[in-house]
């Protein structure tokens, strides 16, 4: 079952990596492509975000592929979510309407 919004705060991110970012054609959706440690990219797991935008992203490392150290979802005053993802390469901060792990 897909986990959504603040439910994601309870998810164990140990061993998960972000290896890609993909927007929809109409810019209304954005996916962070996720893989589990020790696997290749074929699992097709995603953090799917509706009406998402990057507030700030600062990643610095040998490559883009970054290990998730922590993910916090806070509901904001616009009935959306502020998402903060800490990785071994840096920080990703996003705002979206909904965020879902699929």
């Amino acid at each position: 079952m897909a986990m959504k919004n603040i439910q994601l705060n309870g998810f164990d991110w140990n061993g998960f990596y972000i290896y890609g970012i993909r927007y929809s054609d109409d810019w209304c959706h954005m996916d962070l492509l996720i893989r589990k440690s020790g696997t290749d990219n074929v699992e097709n797991r995603r953090l799917h975000m509706e009406f998402s935008r990057i507030n700030q992203a600062r990643l610095n490392g040998s490559e883009f592929d970054c290990k998730i150290l922590g993910l916090v979802v806070n509901e904001n005053e616009n009935n959306g979510c502020d998402v903060h993802i800490e990785t071994d390469k840096g920080l990703l901060s996003l705002t979206c309407c909904d965020i879902m792990l699929t």
């Binding site: 890609g20 054609d25 990057i54 490559e63």
Partner: protein, 134 residues
């Protein structure tokens, strides 16, 4: 149409949008998909043997209520002893850049480019370095 390294000067990326970025850590390849302003519909920018990845993006206060389109306002590369530094710049809804080192980069377009692009020389260390983007 395939354009390798300096040949990518023939491809204009200005006002196109970055749709996706994927890294394959096993093969050290990073692939960018661009919604190409010249038409039909996407082009690929592929960098091989990548290292030293650096991404810095922030939303612009001038576009507070916009979605976060990554509109490309510059494409730069710098030849080094080891290969190339490649950089994609954003100066509109999102401000910042994506930079990485690679041994080789190439652009695969679905059709002939209509207008030339060129190196926007925004990598620090480039003797033609500039901060201008328009």
């Amino acid at each position: 149409m395939l354009f390798i390294n300096e040949e990518t000067d023939k491809v204009n990326l200005y006002e196109s949008h970055l749709i996706s970025m994927e890294s394959d850590s096993s093969s050290r390849v990073t692939k960018f998909l661009v919604d190409w302003c010249e038409g039909d519909p996407y082009l690929e920018l592929i960098c091989e043997n990548c290292s030293d990845f650096n991404l810095e993006i922030a939303k612009s206060p001038n576009f507070e209520n916009w979605c976060g389109q990554l509109e490309i306002t510059g494409f730069s590369y710098l030849k080094t002893k080891e290969g190339y530094i490649v950089q994609i710049n954003f100066d509109m809804v999102c401000i910042g850049f994506i930079q990485l080192k690679c041994s080789k980069f190439f652009i695969n377009t679905p059709e002939d480019p209509k207008q030339e692009g060129g190196n926007s020389h925004r990598i620090i260390g480039d003797e033609k370095y500039t901060t201008e983007w328009f």
